[in-house]
Symmetry: D2
Subunit: 217 residues, 4 copies
Amino acid sequence: MNEASDQKYRGQGFGALGIGFGVRPAVIVVDFQRGFTSAEFELGGSPLVNAAVERTAELLAVARRAGAPVIQALVGSHGGDDALNWKIPSVRTEFHYDKPACELDPRIFDPAHDVVIRKIGPSVFFQTHAIAYLVKKRIDTLVITGCNTSGCVRATIVDGFSYGFRVIVPEQCCGDVDTGPHSDNLRDVGRRYADVMSASDVIRHLASISPQTFKET
Amino acid sequence: MNEASDQKYRGQGFGALGIGFGVRPAVIVVDFQRGFTSAEFELGGSPLVNAAVERTAELLAVARRAGAPVIQALVGSHGGDDALNWKIPSVRTEFHYDKPACELDPRIFDPAHDVVIRKIGPSVFFQTHAIAYLVKKRIDTLVITGCNTSGCVRATIVDGFSYGFRVIVPEQCCGDVDTGPHSDNLRDVGRRYADVMSASDVIRHLASISPQTFKET
Amino acid sequence: MNEASDQKYRGQGFGALGIGFGVRPAVIVVDFQRGFTSAEFELGGSPLVNAAVERTAELLAVARRAGAPVIQALVGSHGGDDALNWKIPSVRTEFHYDKPACELDPRIFDPAHDVVIRKIGPSVFFQTHAIAYLVKKRIDTLVITGCNTSGCVRATIVDGFSYGFRVIVPEQCCGDVDTGPHSDNLRDVGRRYADVMSASDVIRHLASISPQTFKET
Amino acid sequence: MNEASDQKYRGQGFGALGIGFGVRPAVIVVDFQRGFTSAEFELGGSPLVNAAVERTAELLAVARRAGAPVIQALVGSHGGDDALNWKIPSVRTEFHYDKPACELDPRIFDPAHDVVIRKIGPSVFFQTHAIAYLVKKRIDTLVITGCNTSGCVRATIVDGFSYGFRVIVPEQCCGDVDTGPHSDNLRDVGRRYADVMSASDVIRHLASISPQTFKET
């Protein structure tokens, strides 16, 4: 991060307030689907994404043990007229719900615990029923991981914040094609909408949640 | 922009497809309210924002002549419990709808033509009636200007794209506290969601719209 | 309809203004899925619904010939934790996306033309991408058919109106378990949000649309 | 209610499951604004609405004592192009945010406790920030009162249900122009989305809430 530039933002109060965890967190995993996590695909195979998948798997094991809800999101379309105006060709041609690019990476998906949300746009919240599931579970805090930080993760953080949730981003659980845009976006959201923390700190917090928390209706 | 990094994104097809104008554009001006445009306020007074205000005023004169709808958005809250968890103190304490920080800059606001949208979050679309107004006017293209590029403008571009609109961003009509985050965000959205163009090219296009376009119901 | 009661509403101006067709209509078919249209299912087999399916099939043939977009909606859940608090047991237990109750009735579904929207709640618009598809197609008018008039059809009419569309309801293309609630709901929406018309009048209008209408982008 | 008809619905399982209160309720008051509650206005002066205002005032006193959040909603527009296609003339011409028809009835409004939501459509949730406020307060149950039962109250119940809340409707706290549509709509929502209860039972429940409930963050 450019220090002189950062100084300008800090001088106006950007990032001055923290957010912190509430009492009932859920984890949202953004687009760890094969189209992004497997090198067979044009958009797949980034080492940064691969590392984020592995770290997210560790975080999810702890979250599930605590009983926290987990949302697995994937992006795509029915393959016809309903796709948005994406400027990336393979999102239009390969990311169809019935094609391999839309299969969730088995390293992070537990069908017995997780709820799947199919989306057409960047945000997990945009015109999906994610919000209804989170309200039903009385969630107040979102831990957001996934890829790409500079695309769908960023959009999901903004919407999570806009819906009134506390948003926590474990840095090493998010990946991108390259480090520059990854860092730029964590910088922007950390100034305004979310607490950007180390994955270890977030995992430690999730491990400390009382097993009773999610047992009360 | 870092050339080697950009190469990685282009190699995967980011930005490969263009979008272009449709037939009925509207202009959305994001948060050119005194809290951002006037140096009296902690978040105000950036020269980049000031230049963007001036350039947007020129663009709006042409858009209004063509009969294109204009949305003026401002961010704030009622000043109580309803504010979101902003990490920037003055957004919570000064950006109240009845305070000066929420007055639109007179250089860009024409109450006889423009529709005002009050929002609580970054995006002009998040839980506001912007979408209903645009549907009623049969708009297919959004020209998005305002500040900050790395905050509310970015969020509005993402949602405009997600709602199925063609999104055009006139670069010199958007401002920020500093140039780095401004450019970083135009880079991200130009790869995925929107055509980033020069203000002159957008103004030239708006000037070419037939005066009949917005007269048909 | 109770005449004295209707007089009270008319005396206050309810229903005094008409709406009419715009220039680019789409048809939304609400929940003509086997769970409602086939007598094998607890919620299926109503003669009123069956008649509405047949009449909607006629309307759709004309709409497709004109090139008008068609949305086929169905209600259900993934079968787990994500279902809403429906008070009707079989909606929770049988209306799962991979079960027969969620298959669209073949009399009204043309996979080559129609877009399918899966929803969890009553309204076709609630947290689905229906709005993005309609914006992309520059639709200004919705013809809404389906079942039940007193449930999901009513909710879809209210949201279509709220999004700024002109809403037209062809009476004989909507069905319900019984005629009372069907009529009560058409009465309510006709007073406020939509033009309730005969199916013949709507079909005649759709037949009159110039084949060029949907060819322009 | 027509007994034979009701039998048909009950025979298919409509209304078979109850919902019940969760742990953190909020009260939503729909459109008790002078345009509906005062006889000076074309849409005002219904004795049923007046009785519902009085009963809601009693319920709110108990809810505020318990610390439960209260949302006061009102319907209108900025008075220009942004109004929806309402079929009722005075909603378009008199229900402007700066006119007397949009002032909340003082019998139910406590500015020190309540949050105000301005809306353009029937539902308190449609494109407003009601959902963000309720998420921030970790609400799981909505008590919905107001007018008209056959219009904005119905729409708000449907959306509250769709967002995953438990919805409770105290019958005597809702009003309408006439009793028929009031009862018809309570019948429809009680079969599907909400528990319709007596105002006394709801007040008794609110009075029993521990004063600690809303003190925990």
